[in-house]
Amino acid sequence: MAPNAVSSLELAVSELKSVEIVLHDGAGHPASRSAAAALLRRTGFVPPPAVRPYFTVCALAGWRRVPVDQLARWSGMPPAALKRRLAAAGLTPAGVAAWNLALHAAWLLDVAALPTGTVVACMRLGRAVALGAALGARGVRFAAGRVDPGAFAAALDRYAAVLHAAFPT
């Protein structure tokens, strides 16, 4: 597990209000920290404790593409076990990571109002078409370098609905 993730997880889950403080300075664009905080405030407690660390890591690290196995390692869960537990809820580790990547992209474009080129660079996506693909994969419309106003909030609503459906209380 990455050294910063060990301490992050407990804090992030138990003190979601101040989650920004656990994100180290090198974690992407400063606006990505706000995105992670908003994500965790809204959805942090929806997944059950058994899989919650994975969701937290995805929210924190979703500002760039990270292999699913790496995300699983950071969350301290064997990839096979994670896959099995999420499958019971109708989710996949890659699907959760894709949601978080799309939400981070939507935040940077819609909330931080950064130009497309800046978002592509700070998310290390290489090309604008990759950004469009990341957003499109979760139904966020991206045309002419823009997302619709309120795209982040709308996408977060849909993500929260997916999680509530997967983990009914």
Binding site: A113, G150, A153
Partner: protein, 269 residues
């Protein structure tokens, strides 16, 4: 964002509180530091907390970002409220992106007196100090946004909205283009594609509106020239003449309203 040394002061803010919806923690800390009238600032980071406060008692002004801490659009959430309170200045602190400018336009369409403070270019603290101590007159911005910009094709509205905020007191095509993060040449190309005149023609027409509204409110042309940093009033007269007006013809609000269609026509190619 501008309005320094304006010979035309605003009527003054009400005595009520000033709700501030700013997400960035460091900016909130900076604004919360002691200053003239800063005890009136009430800080929020979520729209569901701000909205009930707006409904409570009369607020003197409201300061917002375009999104709250949860990423929810703030202008859309307060649109109905600004429609009922058109005299309350709404200060929008924004990077001036395309979407933000469209949301500013939407607020203006609802009747708001929107003041734009550009993140990274203007100092929000200074703008707030000025607003709280001696609020500058909104000038012609609202009339330009409603009468000229909203009448333009949607594709060019953000650029024209930014022009309205750069027409006073020191009109500069360079600053206008810079705020849009394009070169003046690229700005001219965008305007040309939408069948609009060059940036300098557009800005001169918008500045004429700023001059005209001050004349109709009784400010002397000489004082307007001084506020614009001009040694004499020749360039001001030239701007009005391009729209077919003389300074002496600007007597009241009706004269100013009659100028708006002239501006719409003058900036089209």
């Amino acid at each position: 964002m501008t309005h320094t040394a304006d010979p035309l002061r605003g009527a003054g803010l009400g005595a009520g509180p000033v709700p501030v919806l700013i997400v960035a923690e460091e900016e909130r800390r900076r604004l919360a530091m002691p200053g003239s009238g800063h005890e009136r600032l009430l800080f929020y980071d979520r729209i569901d907390l701000l909205c009930p406060r707006l409904q409570d008692d009369a607020v003197a002004a409201v300061v917002i970002e375009t999104r709250d801490a949860d990423g929810l659009p703030v202008p859309a959430a307060i649109r109905r409220w600004v429609g009922r309170n058109p005299l309350v200045p709404v200060v929008v602190w924004s990077a001036g992106g395309d979407a933000a400018l469209r949301e500013v336009l939407d607020l203006a369409d609802a009747g708001a007196d929107v003041r734009l403070v550009l993140r990274g270019r203007d100092d929000l603290g200074v703008a707030l100090d000025r607003l709280l101590s001696s609020p500058p007159h909104p000038g012609a911005v609202s009339a330009l946004l409603r009468g000229v910009v909203l009448a333009a094709p949607p594709s060019i509205q953000p650029e024209l909205a930014m022009a309205a905020y750069h027409a006073w007191p020191h009109p500069s095509v360079h600053a206008w283009a810079g705020a849009l993060q394009v070169t003046p040449q690229a700005l001219n190309a965008r305007l040309g594609t939408a069948h609009y005149a060059t940036a300098s023609v557009v800005l001169a027409a918008f500045t004429a509106a700023e001059i005209a509204i001050r004349l109709t409110l009784g400010v002397r042309l000489k004082d307007i020239a001084t506020a614009m940093g001009r040694l004499d009033d020749r360039s001001l007269r030239w701007r009005l003449r391009r729209l077919g007006y003389r300074a002496e013809q600007m007597r009241d609000a009706a004269d100013f309203r009659a100028l708006i269609p002239r501006i719409v026509a003058a900036i089209r190619r």
